[in-house]
């Protein structure tokens, strides 16, 4: 920092300082971020890379407001992941967007050696820094004592002990940060620690030993609480049953707890639609907006409560420390399939919606396992398929007991998991022949168990779910507008484009164009319209079927009943035979099982990987769905099922 800047700073600066939080994963950065900003920070995607950064203003009770940026956790500056690379670039001063005036290096007081090794890397970058000791409340649990003054003296860097939960030490931390930012940079002892890991640990051990800051360098077993919980949840025999129990509760809440909220969203959109149709002057744009766009967005927004509950529970489990244990429990079988323990969260999320699932795959350290996880996510039976399956199952088992439908549905969910496992195993083995085995390590840190704090979790849940909305909004609006145009307008006698009935619309022409392809799977152009509209969101299949068969009842229960009756009564136009036969319905279910019929998923996968990857995935699953459907339909017909 130049002399002029120092002088300017001394005379009451106007510009707030940019302060970056640096540390290893699990060091407590996020908790500190929440404490400094009162959980009022913004999360934004860093341009160009798939890294989400949180930034916010520190609260006035900690002195003048500074800009705090939470950098991604760094575990290995030598071989960084894309997230770590961004953090390292900022530290090296090579980043043009983020230029920190000072750094807060977050150090877990129970693992001083490991965390100071990163601190020594940061010290070498030559930016003003303050070391912030977290997790100090755990020291008694581990029968450790730590002398802050002695540590500060040994390292040559300001050290402050904080308790982010109670706010203790935060004002002092910010004061030290401001002082550090104004001081000339001096070469500290910490920066002289060598960077080779063996030499670094040796030097740090020697430094800490001679300082006498720690009561012992080898704390032994982690705290008793963590030890006891791990003995139960990772137990040889009880570990997996407990894991499945937790998953069962998770899914129960996603499907049952979300239902009333989903009904509210559904009703809200229906009323908005009606309200807008009344309010706005009648015309093309009003109809496009209220019927096409609001209707289409509503169809997808219905799943928002479910996604929020899913993300809330996932964040909660993550904060307790259990999610890392879940990853450990399933790592063995997942590694066999070419996946990673960390593939657990994305794959589970895939049962609710593929979009948050694809985003969650970011945490998987190696590119190959990450891509393979994203590749199999569309197979997980997402909730948009649920209405489609319910309709088709109801049509298949006319008048039978409802438990059969439940059984079939559970079977579909389970099969989707098996299909994902099989696909992953197959693809990873095919690739293994062609590519050299890439570096794949679990080597994962298990954080200590902590009682999660509600406010930050709610905040993070909101940040993650709104990022889902942002990602999905544009493709959904575009596709629903286009589909609305296609299904309401057509080529009529003397006019190229005219408002028309569905039978004469562009969608119908498109469906008829596709009919030769649909015929082998026992479907006709009307089903084709359903399949085309399902590309906006799979459950749009149900509403477009209702449109095709002109079911115009307002009440939901009778609407479904009359839709079922219409479906049963539907005949093929050419031969007059029933359209929805057993084979056709099973074929359609197979098609929905495999096919990647979701514009938003394709868009998100494209953003997270590449256009090529997204298009290959789309082509692969859609043709796989088609081929399987045709094979099943023809096979069933050959064996005597109509």
């Amino acid at each position: 920092m130049g002399k002029a800047t120092v002088a300017a700073n001394a005379q009451g600066r106007k510009r707030p300082l940019t302060v970056c939080l640096v540390g290893m994963p699990n060091a407590g950065k996020t908790t500190l971020m929440n404490a400094l900003t009162d959980s009022s920070f913004y999360t934004a995607n860093y341009p160009g890379v798939t890294v989400t950064l949180a930034s916010g203003r520190s609260k006035p009770r900690y002195g003048s407001e500074e800009l705090i940026i939470d950098l991604p956790g760094i575990s290995s500056p030598a071989s960084p992941s894309p997230e770590e690379e961004l953090a390292c670039k900022v530290l090296d001063g090579q980043d043009d967007t983020i230029r920190p005036d000072a750094l807060i290096v977050v150090v877990d007081a129970t693992q001083v050696e490991r965390h100071l090794r990163l601190a020594s890397y940061v010290a070498r970058c030559g930016k003003p820094m303050v070391i912030c000791l977290t997790m100090t409340d755990l020291l008694p649990r581990m029968k450790l004592t730590l002398d802050v003054q002695k540590l500060e003296h040994a390292l040559g860097v300001p050290v402050v002990e904080v308790d982010a939960r109670s706010g203790k030490g935060l004002a002092k931390l910010m004061q030290l940060v401001r002082e550090a930012a104004q001081r000339q940079f001096a070469m500290q002892k910490l920066a002289q620690i060598p960077q080779d890991p063996v030499a670094a640990y040796d030097a740090l051990s020697a430094l800490l030993k001679s300082s006498g800051a720690l009561s012992t360098l080898h704390p032994g077993i982690a705290d008793e609480v963590t030890n006891k919980i791990d003995a139960i949840v990772l137990h040889r025999w009880f570990g997996l049953p407990i894991f499945f129990l937790i998953l069962a509760v998770l899914f129960a809440s996603i499907f049952w707890a979300a239902q009333p909220l989903m009904d509210i969203v559904d009703t809200a959109f229906t009323y908005t639609q009606a309200f807008l149709a009344e309010l706005l002057p009648p015309g093309f744009l009003t109809e496009l907006f209220s019927e096409g766009i609001i209707g289409g967005v509503g169809a997808v927004a219905v799943f928002f409560p479910q996604i929020m509950i899913l993300l809330f529970l996932m964040t909660f489990l993550e904060d307790t420390g259990y999610l890392a244990r879940g990853a450990v429990l399933v790592d063995r079988p997942l590694a066999f399939l070419g996946l990673h323990g960390r593939s657990l969260v994305p794959m589970l999320s895939g049962f609710a919606c593929a979009i948050p699932a694809v985003l969650a795959a970011r945490t998987i350290p190696t590119a190959r396992e990450r891509l393979l996880t994203i590749w199999v996510i569309p197979l997980m039976s997402c909730s948009a398929r649920l209405p489609v399956y319910s309709l088709l199952i109801a049509a298949l088992f006319t008048g039978r007991k409802s438990w059969i439908a439940g059984l079939v549905l559970s079977g579909i969910y389970f099969t989707s998991l098996l299909a994902a496992a099989f696909t992953a195993g197959l693809v990873s083995r095919l690739l293994a022949k062609r590519h050299r085995r890439s570096l794949s390590l679990l080597a994962m840190e298990l954080p200590v168990y902590r009682m999660p704090q509600l406010r930050p979790i709610l905040k993070l849940t909101w940040a993650r779910s709104s990022s889902y909305l942002q990602k999905a909004a544009l493709p959904i609006i575009t596709v629903s507008a286009v589909l609305w145009l296609l299904s309401n307008y057509g080529y009529l006698q003397y006019r190229y484009i005219a408002r028309t009935s569905l039978e004469q619309s562009f969608a119908a022409s498109l469906g008829q164009l596709l009919e030769p392809m649909l015929e082998p799977m026992g479907a006709d152009w009307r089903v084709g319209i359903g399949l085309i509209s399902a590309f906006a969101a799979r459950e749009a299949f149900v509403s477009s079927m209702a449109l095709v068969f002109r079911v115009a009842e307002e009440d939901e229960n009778t609407r479904e009943k009359s839709l079922l009756e219409c479906i049963r009564a539907a005949r093929l136009e050419s031969s007059g035979k029933p359209l929805f036969t057993t084979s056709t319905i099973i074929g359609l279910m197979c098609f929905f099982f495999f096919s990647l019929q979701c514009a938003s998923t394709v868009a998100v996968v494209r953003h997270e990987t590449s256009t090529r990857f997204a298009l290959i995935q789309l082509a692969f699953y859609t043709s796989l769905g088609y081929i399987v459907a045709v094979l099943i339909v023809q096979g069933l017909r050959l064996t005597g099922f109509a």
Binding site: W237, L240, A443
Partner: protein
């Protein structure tokens, strides 16, 4: 002997890490350097990965990774 052969809840001293460069570096960075005390604290279903305690941290290492860690 390697970390895989370690008796549960017993402390050992690491002799060295034998693996290819990147993998070795990664384990060393985690704190598994020669001379460090290490302990397998927990068995899990399937017997893989191992849960080990080192330098105050609790780590999950696949058996394949634990085999690279030689003990004194």
């Amino acid at each position: 002997m390697t970390l895989v052969d370690a008796v549960r809840s017993k402390w050992y001293r690491i002799a060295g890490v034998e693996a290819s460069n990147d993998e070795r570096r990664r384990l060393l960075e985690l704190g598994l350097t020669p001379g460090t005390e290490v302990c397998v604290v927990q068995e899990v279903p399937f017997g893989d990965p191992l849960i080990v305690q080192v330098r105050g941290a609790r780590l999950a290492l696949r058996k394949r990774e634990a085999e690279w860690v030689k003990l004194q």
